[in-house]
């Protein structure tokens, strides 16, 4: 039985996703106390880690002309980036001990450097762009050790939590090389941002 570690289950989407994993006979553990779910035992091996840190503060709706809220940008960065860095560092020994070696983060296609048309959400988008670069650097380091990576946008405004959780489960658990039914194709070495409707987004 594979063990999947969630950093937390803050919204309905993450709880639905944890439910799917449990139903599919994964051992689901949650790092930050969530009643009803098991917690990680010291030294326990983890196969898949899902960092569900994905904070968009309500005050982050300013434009440049409204006035930049440096405090909002800092809080968003500390949560979405620094906290995520610390989580990975903390649980990497557990993942090294596991067989699955799959790391997953939640993000948003609007934090694509190439594609965003946003004029609001500076804190979130800038933090996620920095996180994407962190993930890229981490993948350079950990891919040779057998790790694979998933970055997923649940499309929270467009897709129901149930549908997004189903899409996330398939994306997280499948080998990417099989998605085109071509056994020769294996793009696990390419870091990709996928959304809940199966679209790949540029960084």
């Amino acid at each position: 039985m594979q063990t999947i570690l969630f950093s937390a289950l803050p919204t309905d989407f993450e709880r639905k996703l944890a439910g799917i994993f449990a139903k599919e006979d994964f051992r689901v553990v949650v790092a930050e106390g969530d009643e009803g779910w098991q917690t990680l035992q010291p030294g326990e091996a983890v196969d898949i880690f899902i960092d569900t840190t994905d904070v968009r503060l309500p005050e982050d709706g300013f434009t440049l002309l409204d006035g930049v809220r440096a405090d909002v940008i800092e809080r968003t960065f500390r949560k979405n980036v620094l906290h995520s860095m610390q989580l990975l560092e903390k649980y990497l020994p557990n993942l090294d001990a596991g067989q699955g070696k799959r790391l997953c983060w939640l993000s948003d296609a609007n934090a694509s450097l190439n594609a965003t048309r946003d004029t609001q959400g500076y804190g979130y988008n800038m933090a996620k762009a920095a996180l994407h670069q962190f993930i890229q650097k981490v993948s350079n380091k950990l891919t040779p050790r057998g790790y694979s990576f998933r970055v997923f946008d649940p499309l929270r405004e467009e897709v129901s939590p149930e549908a997004a959780a189903g899409a996330a489960f398939h994306y997280i658990t499948r080998r990417r090389g099989t998605e085109n039914h071509d056994p020769r194709r294996d793009d696990e070495n390419n870091l990709t941002l996928y959304d809940a409707q199966g679209r790949a987004h540029p960084w």
């Binding site: 762009a129 962190f134 890229q136 650097k137 350079n140």
Partner: protein
């Protein structure tokens, strides 16, 4: 004649850009951060159109002071060149904990948040300018896709530059229709300028040569201002 603010002007590309813009007749406001470098003061002794401002782009109060000084001195600003950056090595190895994650915040605060805050504060001075030129010195390390092939540097600097690039992208989304023109420039690997003005032999390019190229790129009008692109000293576009 137009005027320009250049941050991180103590040495390197920033200092070279100051020289270049002075030669072009601009009034130059040079952001100074390093007390042990006096190359700006030497330049000031030769040219009274150079105004030295103490400027730490990572500190809001320092930004406010700089903007107020420009306002008092000339009242308007035509071009802003964000060149200051916090680099340097840091302990960020996943397999040698603990990572110094605060260094990631320091880099982001100076390299990404600083240019955003400074741009915001400068906008009232630039509204009446016909140039409205906002220029950001960036790097190939901002390109997430390209970093697939690089695992030698620590995390904070590339992370901060990706964050900065996102900030510039969003400002472009917001300000292009108001007549602001954006430049993202990748200067390449430049020689380091010592406090005595000499250049190290390590690295490839003389910052004076790159400064001349950058100034031309920053100054000229482009036919495709609606596109935000990062251009290097050869004029090649880089992916984000």
């Amino acid at each position: 004649m137009p005027n320009v603010l250049i941050t991180g002007a103590d040495r390197g590309l920033g200092l070279s850009l100051c020289k270049e813009y002075l030669q072009r007749g601009y009034t130059v406001f040079a952001g100074k951060f390093m007390a042990d470098y006096t190359l700006l003061e030497d330049l000031r002794a030769q040219n009274e159109r150079l105004h030295i401002i103490w400027l730490d782009v990572g500190e809001s109060a320092s930004i406010e002071n700089a903007v107020q000084m420009i306002e008092r001195t000339v009242g308007t600003l035509d071009a802003f060149i964000s060149n200051a950056a916090l680099m340097g090595r840091t302990k960020c190895d996943l397999y040698d904990p603990p990572m110094e994650v605060e260094r990631a915040w320091d880099s982001f605060r100076v390299n990404a948040l600083g240019p955003l805050l400074l741009t915001e504060k400068l906008l009232p001075l630039m509204e009446k300018s016909p140039m409205k030129r906002l220029c950001y010195v960036s790097s190939e390390v901002a390109c997430i896709a390209l970093m697939k092939y690089r695992c030698d540097e620590p995390f904070p600097y590339p992370m901060s530059k990706a964050g900065m690039q996102m900030g510039v992208r969003m400002m472009h989304n917001e300000l292009y229709e108001r007549g602001y023109m954006f430049r993202l420039f990748h200067p390449g690997w430049m020689k380091f300028r010592n406090a005595d003005g000499s250049l190290t032999e390590i690295a490839m390019y003389d910052p004076d040569d790159i400064g001349a190229i950058a100034a031309r790129y920053f100054e000229k009008d482009l036919y495709d201002e609606h596109r935000l692109v990062m251009v290097d000293f050869n004029g090649y576009e880089w992916p984000f």
